[in-house]
Assembly symmetry: C2
Homo-oligomer: 368 residues x 2
């Protein structure tokens, strides 16, 4: 029951395969890429333990020269020093890597971003393949070609746009995922529904149980539908200058909440969920939508285990963090707000007092 989605980017177009057990096809997919005879898997230490052997076996079975290099798991290692160490390991691989070597990024967001960055800069750009193993990476990082690492001055400040040659999503890997990480991916799924696809929200509501149980068929559908939405947005705007901004729905306030609470103390999915609720409140204040959309969102997020209230938020401080982010992004505080289910637009004229009120509402048990 493999599903295939093409990300249309002209000469950089590629195909995303989604289905259970697809890691077994890794070698076949890699060897089908033009001139590839060697593959180097880059993973973090956790993923190496879970899927390293399976990946290497599949590559070797397809007749490829294969190597695996890894780095210690954790967002703290997503930095330029790790890229340097991985380059050291890459250039020590025997036989020596050349331009026809394929990098295989195996794992969640961090291994994907880091391996993609290595692929972007090694020999001025090697082709690469993404094999995400978390729902968040499946529905978000697998489309768009963003690679990068953090810098003390901010997240993802160093990186490159570097489109993969192929993406292979084995939904069976989701079964090894902690519930909390599954939820982070689900928040992005809800986001995609709100910005582009009302029917996806129906699907998530109807299949919530099967989704939480990681039913293979349901997850294949869920991931493929989300990849389609993101692929559509990215195809229209590869370099993130226009409508790709819609993908930031829930993230303007969400990022600030994440920074306020402290990275790691609230999950990214949790922060985005709160941000989406805040954006709905702002849209209501502007008269763009009535409160029914928010009610529906809060209900489905509740069923998925995503909290929609967070006591203790300081609206002034969260606002200040947003001001700081704004500067870093070029001086404009732009909100992505829903104008209906499946539709959003960007707004530059949201008022400080309305934003603070929305954040305060997130701290109150029943909303406003």
């Amino acid at each position: 029951m493999t599903r295939k989605v093409t990300v249309e980017l002209g000469p950089r177009s590629y195909e995303v395969q989604v289905g259970p057990g697809l890691l077994a096809n890794l070698g076949r997919t890699a060897s089908a890429i033009r001139h590839v005879q060697q593959a180097v898997v880059i993973a973090d230490s956790t993923v190496t333990g879970l899927y390293g052997r399976q990946a290497m076996h599949s590559l070797a079975s397809a007749g490829l020269s294969a190597a695996l290099i890894d780095f210690p798991a954790g967002e703290a290692n997503k930095n330029l020093a790790t890229v340097g160490k991985l380059c050291d390991k890459l250039f020590a691989v025997s036989p020596a890597v050349d331009r026809n070597c394929l990098i295989v990024a195996l794992g969640g967001g961090v291994p994907g971003d880091v391996a993609g960055m290595v692929a972007a800069v090694a020999l001025r750009g090697l082709r690469w393949m993404q094999c995400p193993t978390t729902l968040l990476a499946d529905v978000d990082a697998s489309v768009g070609g963003k690679t990068g690492v953090d810098h003390p001055a901010g997240k993802n400040l160093i990186g490159a746009f570097h489109q993969p040659s192929a993406v292979l999503i084995d939904v069976r890997t989701l079964k090894s995922l902690p519930a909390q990480e599954l939820r982070s991916g689900l928040a992005e799924c809800v986001k995609h529904a709100v910005i582009r696809d009302a029917e996806l929200l129906d699907f998530v509501e109807a299949q919530a149980e099967a989704i939480l149980a990681c039913d293979e068929s349901t997850m294949t559908d869920l991931v493929a539908r989300n990849v389609e939405i993101k692929a559509h947005v990215v195809s229209a705007d590869e370099r993130e200058t226009g409508q790709r901004a819609h993908l930031n729905f829930g993230h303007t306030v969400g990022h600030a909440i994440e920074a306020f609470v402290g990275y790691g103390k609230v999950t990214h999915g949790q922060a985005v969920s709160l941000g989406m609720v805040a954006a709905c409140i702002l849209a209501e204040t502007k008269g763009l939508i009535d409160s029914s959309l928010r009610g529906r969102l809060e209900a489905v997020m509740g069923r998925l285990g995503l909290e929609v209230r967070l006591p203790g938020l300081d609206a002034d401080q969260v606002w200040n963090i947003m001001q700081h982010d704004k500067k870093a992004r070029g001086g404009r505080l732009r909100f992505v707000l829903p104008t209906g289910l499946g539709r959003v637009d960007t707004f530059d004229d949201v008022q400080e007092q309305d934003v603070k009120e929305a954040i305060r509402a997130l701290g109150q048990p029943g909303g406003r």
Copy 2:
């Protein structure tokens, strides 16, 4: 007497300006790039001392927010650690850099490669402008968008293709250049003549005195003509898969000689000159040309101060280094050989014994 050459690369096309005193136009050119309000100059310590103040003054006069960050001069510092340190400095600039910040690479090959690499990865790609200050950088690195740093495993192993938004070549800076560095650039000029432009060789022969004196008008012509040739080759083959290989004329043997003698003990220009002579000998052996081309090349290189003989070369060792380079490049030892003045082609069938004989000839006073 400014000359302008457009490098045609579709949406990534840009203009190269060549002329004396152009550094004074830096600010005006930078501020004409869309949305640019801030510029960060990246230079090495030598160039900062020579031209840093002038560059900053020009940027500030054009109303741009300007900063200068630098790193210690020398090829030994062309590495990923320097990129990291420059990113630290870049993200500490106040006001904070955003996507509309322009990186200005000021200096020769090393500052250009390093600054270009920083531009390629900071915020997933900032626009950048090249202001080369050596003849080699003027006629070679200023066209093509190659950026990168060295790794212990080899030169330029880490980098990116990242086209600049504009290139500004102030030929007046060539007057501060040591004679030996001027010669390295001249070797590339001779190379361009042999691969594409017989008339350029006439020009170099006729103007050798004015060239060596760095006459501004002559250098403007020389640089512009060379930029045109390289721009033409690169436009036809941005990612270096086909005819861009012609630019390697003289470099296959040249690189191996450089590695044999030891980097820094022979200049790049010297090594390329020897490599071009070796390529001519090989072309003669294959019956592609008679010996008159080599005679003419040796004479003009002699006038420019480029030696065409190097005693002490060990043909077997140089050959072995070429074998190693071949592996690193994907298994094929491909020679670019002249088929006439202004014409080259690539050959995969050059014999070991002929190559060794050509290298041996380089060690003998009168050639073969």
